[in-house]
C-alpha cells in the first residue's frame, strides 16, 4: 500500500458519514422525557390512590420495568430504541430491556448456561460498577461523618 495507516485512517474517518447528533439528542430527550413523565404520573396516581411516597415510586419503577419487558418480548422496544437511543437506554426501562433481550435470545442454550448466565452479558457491567460506585460513595460519606 502506498498510503500509510495514519493517512488511511484519516481518509476513512473523512469518508464515514456522521451520526445526526442534534436529531439524535432531540429524539432521546423526547422519548426519555416521556418515559420519565409516565413514571411520575404512575407515582402520582399511586399517591392519589393512598400509597405512601416510597411505595408510589416503587410502583412506578415496577410498572415501567413490566412495560419494558413486555415491549422487548413483543419486539417493539428495539424498534423504539433505534430512534430514541439514550432516551430508552438511560431510564430503568433500558436496564430491563438489557436483561430481557439476552434472556430471550439465549434460552436456546439452556436455562442455566444460556438464559441464567447470558442474561447478564449487557447488564452485568452496570451491576458490577453500580455496586462499586455505591461502595465508594458509602465510604466517602462514612469518612465525612467521622470528620
Amino acid at each position: 500500500m502506498d498510503i500509510t495507516p495514519q493517512e488511511y485512517r484519516k481518509l476513512a474517518e473523512k469518508s464515514a458519514p456522521r451520526s445526526p447528533v442534534l436529531a439524535d439528542c432531540l429524539k432521546a430527550f423526547g422519548v426519555g422525557g416521556t418515559i420519565c413523565m409516565l413514571g411520575q404520573a404512575i407515582a402520582l396516581a399511586g399517591q392519589a390512590g393512598g400509597l405512601g411516597e416510597k411505595d408510589a415510586l416503587f410502583l412506578a419503577s415496577l410498572t415501567l420495568v413490566l412495560l419494558s419487558v413486555l415491549l422487548t418480548a413483543l419486539g417493539a422496544y428495539d424498534v423504539i430504541a433505534k430512534h430514541a437511543g439514550a432516551g430508552t437506554l438511560v431510564p430503568i426501562t433500558g436496564f430491563a430491556n438489557a436483561m430481557t433481550a439476552p434472556a430471550i435470545e439465549y434460552k436456546t442454550e439452556g436455562l442455566v448456561m444460556g438464559l441464567g448466565t447470558k442474561m447478564f452479558t449487557i447488564a452485568g457491567p452496570v451491576l458490577v460498577y453500580g455496586v462499586l460506585a455505591s461502595v465508594i460513595y458509602g465510604l466517602i460519606q462514612a469518612a465525612l461523618t467521622l470528620l
Binding site: 500500500m1 495507516p5 469518508s15 422496544y77 428495539d78 430504541a81 433505534k82 449487557i122
Partner: protein, 335 residues
C-alpha cells in the same frame, strides 16, 4: 492445469465451468432491488427451526440442494465441497452437510468466503483432483447479530457506517464441459491491515485489501479496470466502496460505472434501513448466484471480476481492541 501468471494470479487453463448455481434469501433480501432474481425467498427466516443457527444451516441446505439440482447431479457425485460461514467453528456449514456424505473442506474467509470457496472448487477441478466440486456459503442476520453484536431485541443504535448481515446463501457447482460460465483466473488475497479498529466500519477495514488484490491482478494480467464489463466487490458497502475508488485512483486505476458492490446491490439503502449496505458471506454469494452468473449466461455480461472481501475479526479480537485485518479474493468469470 493451473498456470501462474505474474506474481500472484493463477490461470485455470483446463477450462472449469459453472455447472449449476442457486441463491436463496430471506424476506428483506427478497424485497430488495434484486427481487425476482433468487431461486427461493423465505418470508419466515426462522426456517421453522428452533434456533437461528439451525435456520442458517437450513438455508444453506436449500442453496446446496437447488444448485445440485440445476447441475443435474446428486450429492454423492460430488468429489469435494468447500463450505463456509460466519459462525464459530463454521457450524452452519458442517451441520447443514450432516445429511450428505460429501467430502468436505470447511473454509473461513468471513465475507470473502464465496470467492474463497469458488476459487478452491475451480482449482480442484482445474487440477484434476475433482471432476465435480462445489462451493457454498451462507450468513443469517439473526445468528450473526447474536454472535458479533447484541441480542436481537436489545435496544441499541447502529452507526451510519454499520452494515447489515444478509440472510442469504449461495452455492456454485463446478465441473468440466457444458456451456456454463467459465472460471478463468483467480488471485488469492493477502491480509491487509491498515489499523482500522471500528467493528462498525468493516467497509473501511476491507477496502485496502480489495485495492491490493485488484492492483496485483491488473499488474499480473496487464489489464485496466475498463477492460471488464463488471467489477463486483462484496461487501464493502457505501463507505468501503468510496475508499476503494480513492485508493485505486491514487494508483491511476479508475473504477467507473462498471464498478458495483454486492452489499449495495442486494439492498436499497434509502428504503431498507441497512445503513452502509449489506454484508455477510451470503450477501456476495446471493448476488453472484442470483444476479451475476445469470447475467453472464444470458450474454448481458461477458467479462466479470468477482472480488469478495472479508473482515477477519472476531468478537474477542474486537473487544481486545485489535485492528481488523482485511482480505479480498478475486475470481474472473467469462462466458
Amino acid at each position: 492445469m493451473a498456470e501462474r501468471k505474474g506474481a500472484s494470479t493463477v490461470t485455470l487453463s483446463a477450462r472449469p465451468r459453472v455447472l449449476g448455481h442457486a441463491a436463496v434469501v430471506g424476506k428483506k433480501e427478497g424485497e430488495g432491488p434484486l427481487a425476482g432474481c433468487f431461486d427461493a425467498v423465505f418470508d419466515d427466516v426462522t426456517m421453522e427451526k428452533e434456533s437461528w443457527e439451525q435456520a442458517e444451516s437450513a438455508l444453506q441446505k436449500e442453496a446446496f440442494t437447488r444448485a445440485l439440482d440445476h447441475a443435474g447431479i446428486s450429492p454423492s457425485q460430488l468429489d469435494v465441497l468447500f463450505a463456509g460461514d460466519l459462525l464459530d467453528q463454521c457450524t452452519a456449514s458442517t451441520f447443514a452437510m450432516r445429511d450428505y456424505s460429501v467430502p468436505l473442506l470447511g473454509q473461513y474467509g468471513a465475507c470473502s468466503t464465496m470467492a474463497q470457496t469458488l476459487a478452491m472448487a475451480a482449482l480442484a477441478v482445474d487440477s484434476g483432483a475433482a471432476d465435480l466440486a462445489a462451493a457454498v456459503t451462507s450468513s443469517h442476520f439473526c445468528s450473526a447479530e447474536r454472535q458479533f453484536r447484541y441480542p436481537l431485541t436489545y435496544g441499541g443504535q447502529r452507526t451510519p457506517t454499520a452494515q447489515w448481515t444478509a440472510t442469504a446463501s449461495g452455492c456454485v457447482v463446478v465441473g468440466m464441459g457444458g456451456k456454463g460460465v467459465r472460471l478463468r483466473e483467480i488471485t488469492v488475497g493477502r491480509i491487509v491491515d491498515m489499523g482500522v479498529t471500528d467493528a462498525n466500519n468493516m467497509g473501511a477495514a476491507m477496502a485496502p485489501a480489495a485495492a491490493d488484490t485488484l492492483t496485483r491482478y491488473f499488474e499480473d494480467t496487464d489489464t485496466r479496470p475498463g477492460d471488464y464489463d463488471l467489477i463486483a466487490t462484496g461487501d464493502l458497502g457505501a463507505c468501503g466502496s468510496s475508499l476503494l475508488k480513492e485508493l485505486l485512483s491514487r494508483k491511476g486505476l479508475l473504477l467507473g460505472s462498471n464498478y458495483r458492490d454486492c452489499g449495495l446491490m442486494l439492498f436499497d439503502r434509502e428504503t431498507q434501513d441497512v445503513h452502509a449496505g449489506g454484508s455477510g458471506c451470503g450477501c456476495s454469494a446471493a448476488v453472484l448466484c442470483g444476479k451475476i452468473l445469470p447475467q453472464i449466461e444470458r450474454g448481458e455480461l461477458h467479462d466479470v471480476l468477482f472480488v469478495a472481501t472479508g473482515a477477519l475479526l472476531s468478537a474477542t479480537s474486537a473487544r481486545q481492541g485489535e485492528s481488523i485485518p482485511g482480505i479480498a479474493h478475486l475470481v474472473r468469470l467469462t462466458k
